[in-house]
């Protein structure tokens, strides 16, 4: 047997993993070790891989990255303030992937959800975490997931108790401050039966630095629970953001995913939703608003494994400058997943001649009594709508901004957190204004 040489880039990203302290939890040590082995065995995807056809990682592999330093000197309560979601009942702040307890507001199980760091959670909740942590997400074919797990040191943990109705959202805030670093944010959200909760996972940067965020989120939604997962990606415009989320949805449970992609030079989000039991539901909204030379790639998989599942997906992109949006939306209906009801829409707005979008709905249906609808459109701002607004006195630029905003509004306005909606409205208006 020949041994394969480790990909030099991956080897550089594995710097520091071998020095990770052994935890008192053998299962965790094992999973981390296995991920390290997988990462060693895998290579960086290229555009020859079908799943990465449009997303060229060459630039990322040329970066000289180092692990982020755990010192959090650059971030104070004042720097966090503009990112605070006032509606949230608990907030965990991670700076360059490292937990910042002094900036966080943890919460106890008595409030409905225990929101804390993995380090703290493992002390009392290891048994609860063991079936899920580094288990929900497979690292087999995914080198970035393998790298994240190999680096697993701390994580944001949200444990929502059975039947808990959490009125206040949980905010998980990841702040990047150090240039030329690789960061490994990690979240795990476990929603017990019949609970209801909203979790906001947000990525921001303090400056326009080059860095690499490699994030992984695992979600389990137990029977009849309802979890809303809002992901806001507002990385630096020069950053690389590669993230995946795997969600396992149980009987009659609902998972709502709302993802807004604004930042990063190159971003990739892989969302894998397993509707693993009868009557499981998923509602998936996505909006990417990009300009200049940004690339935003969204790959989703909705796996209907059992009967009576429902999924509704709306993915929108607004692409300006020489930016490039990629959407690959796979709907899998497995044999026996009868009476599946699935709808998928991909709507894309191109604001410039150099903007491009590649959208690919992918339906694989192995059951015969199902309803699956899908559609994709790519268009420009409507000339008649523009004239209508201008004929009512709106300057052309304001009219363009309003129509651009309106295109994205249907996704933004479905987020039931007013401060997040308000902030996104201002960001989108400013971004489209700057681009018009």
């Amino acid at each position: 047997m020949s041994t394969t040489a480790v990909h030099p880039y991956i080897e550089s990203l594995l710097t520091g993993t071998r020095e990770l302290a052994t935890t008192p939890h053998p299962w965790l040590n094992e999973r981390r070790g296995a991920a390290l082995e997988r990462a060693n065995a895998l290579s960086v995807p290229t555009t020859r891989d079908e799943d990465w056809r449009f997303t060229d990682l060459t630039q990322l592999t040329r970066l000289q990255l180092r692990p982020a330093n755990p010192s959090r000197g650059a971030v104070s309560a004042e720097t966090v303030q503009p990112c605070v979601v006032p509606e949230a009942g608990a907030r965990l702040v991670f700076v360059d992937g490292h937990f910042a307890p002094e900036l966080s507001v943890e919460s106890e199980a008595a409030s409905g959800a225990r929101v804390t760091s993995l380090t703290a959670a493992l002390k009392t909740e290891a048994q609860r975490l063991e079936p899920y942590l580094a288990r929900i997400a497979s690292v087999d074919g995914n080198v970035f997931a393998a790298l994240n797990t190999a680096h697993l040191r701390d994580a944001a943990v949200v444990l929502i108790g059975k039947g808990a109705a959490c009125a206040k959202p949980v905010h998980l805030l990841f702040i990047a401050t150090q240039a030329d670093t690789a960061q490994y944010p990690r979240c795990i959200v476990l929603a017990e039966a019949q609970c209801e909760c909203t979790v906001i996972e947000e990525y921001v940067a303090l400056s326009e630095d080059v860095y690499f965020t490699n994030a992984l989120t695992e979600v389990n939604v137990a029977s009849e629970a309802r979890l809303r997962h809002i992901k806001l990606q507002r990385e630096s415009g020069r950053a690389f953001h590669i993230a995946s989320c795997t969600a396992a949805i149980a009987k009659d449970a609902t998972y709502v995913s709302q993802t807004i992609t604004l930042g990063a030079r190159l971003s990739r989000y892989e969302l894998n939703i397993g509707l693993n039991a009868e009557g499981a539901n998923a509602e998936i909204d996505g909006l990417a608003l990009i300009s200049n030379r940004q690339l935003a790639d969204t790959h989703t998989l909705i796996d209907h494994a059992k009967p009576n599942g429902r999924s509704a997906q709306l993915h929108k992109t607004i692409v300006d400058g020489a930016a490039h949006a990629v959407f690959n939306g796979k709907i899998l209906v497995r044999p026996g997943a009868q009476l599946t009801d699935s709808a998928q829409e991909s709507r894309n707005l191109l604001l410039s001649d150099k903007a491009t979008v590649d959208t690919k709905p992918q339906l694989e249906i192995f059951a015969d009594d199902v309803k699956c609808a899908h559609g994709a459109t790519v268009g420009q701002l409507d000339a008649e709508q523009l004239f209508y607004l201008r004929s009512r006195g709106l300057p052309e630029r304001a009219a363009r901004n309003l129509l651009t905003y309106a295109f994205g509004a249907s996704v933004i306005e479905r987020i039931p957190v007013p401060s997040v909606v308000g902030r996104l409205e201002r960001t989108v208006m400013a971004q489209t204004g700057a681009a018009a």
């Binding site: 000339a383 004929s391 006195g393 300057p395 052309e396 304001a398 309003l402 129509l403 905003y405 309106a406």
Partner: protein, 260 residues
């Protein structure tokens, strides 16, 4: 009043193309304050093109002639500046704008147009009071404020929404393009009452219409017949009735015999 008011609009020898095809072939028209003009004519005569050219639709290329609005050269102004100067086009097919609420749109339009004329902007609460008053006059359900602009509105609701914008923007010259088409008799009456209530000594209306029906409710001072991109006959309100009874052919024949 008629014929003595200040000149608002003065069109001389206006010609225009759409996609390279000449549609307007030399239009002359003078509209003074306090006047209601009706422009009638068969389909394809250029009526709607004329309306859109006055409002500044970018798809229409003006190839000759002049248009003065209160003495200003209108043709050099983009559509938004024409609106602020006091021109209003009521659309034949009002455009749906999903994602923009009618109230936000109306307030944005109101504030843009009125601030350009030196009036104070209204905040959302003040505007809400203002627009609800106007809606009452048009017998419009306030629920239309919270819906996206024209989205899912019936034909009649869309036309009422046009007249609501007209009422809010208080233009000096309103050009209503086929406002009567698609309206049942009740809606027509409401729209006509709205228009009649908005006529003042210092503004004017140009009604573009295919049928005489609207003119039973809004009585024009002048009726113009358009054919082949020109105004070929002008008369008083009785001309509309004559057209209703006899059709357009006789006007065309008369015009041909004069120009032959």
């Amino acid at each position: 009043m008629m014929g003595t008011g200040k000149t608002l609009l003065e069109v001389r020898g206006l010609t225009a193309n759409v996609a390279g095809v000449p549609i307007l072939k030399g239009i002359d028209l003078v509209v003074r304050e306090g006047e209601i003009h009706a422009i009638m004519g068969p389909n394809g005569s250029g009526k709607s093109t004329f309306a859109k050219v006055l409002a500044g639709h970018p798809a229409y290329e003006v190839t000759g002639g002049t248009v003065l609005f209160e003495g200003r050269d209108l043709l050099t102004l983009p559509p938004e500046e024409r609106a602020r100067a006091g021109i209003f086009l009521g659309f034949q097919y009002p455009v749906e704008i999903p994602g923009v609420t009618n109230s936000a749109f109306l307030r944005l339009a109101y504030n843009t147009v009125h601030s350009a004329r030196g009036k104070d902007e209204l905040d959302p609460l003040e505007f809400d009071d203002f627009i609800r008053e106007k809606m009452k006059l048009l017998e419009m359900d306030p629920a239309f404020l919270d819906r996206s602009v024209n989205e899912g509105f019936s034909g009649g609701e869309k036309k009422r929404n046009e007249i609501l914008q007209l009422a809010a923007l208080e233009p000096k010259l309103a050009i209503l393009d086929e406002t009567d088409s698609g309206l049942d008799i009740d809606a027509l009456r409401v729209v006509a009452n709205g228009v009649n209530g908005l006529l003042r000594p210092d503004n004017a209306f140009v009604l573009v219409t295919h049928y005489q029906r609207l003119l039973n409710y809004i009585v024009p001072h002048y009726v113009h017949v358009m054919q082949g991109g020109r105004i070929i006959k002008t008369g008083g309100k009785e001309l509309a009735l004559e057209l209703e009874n006899r059709g357009y052919d006789w006007v065309v024949d008369e015009y041909k015999s004069v120009t032959a």
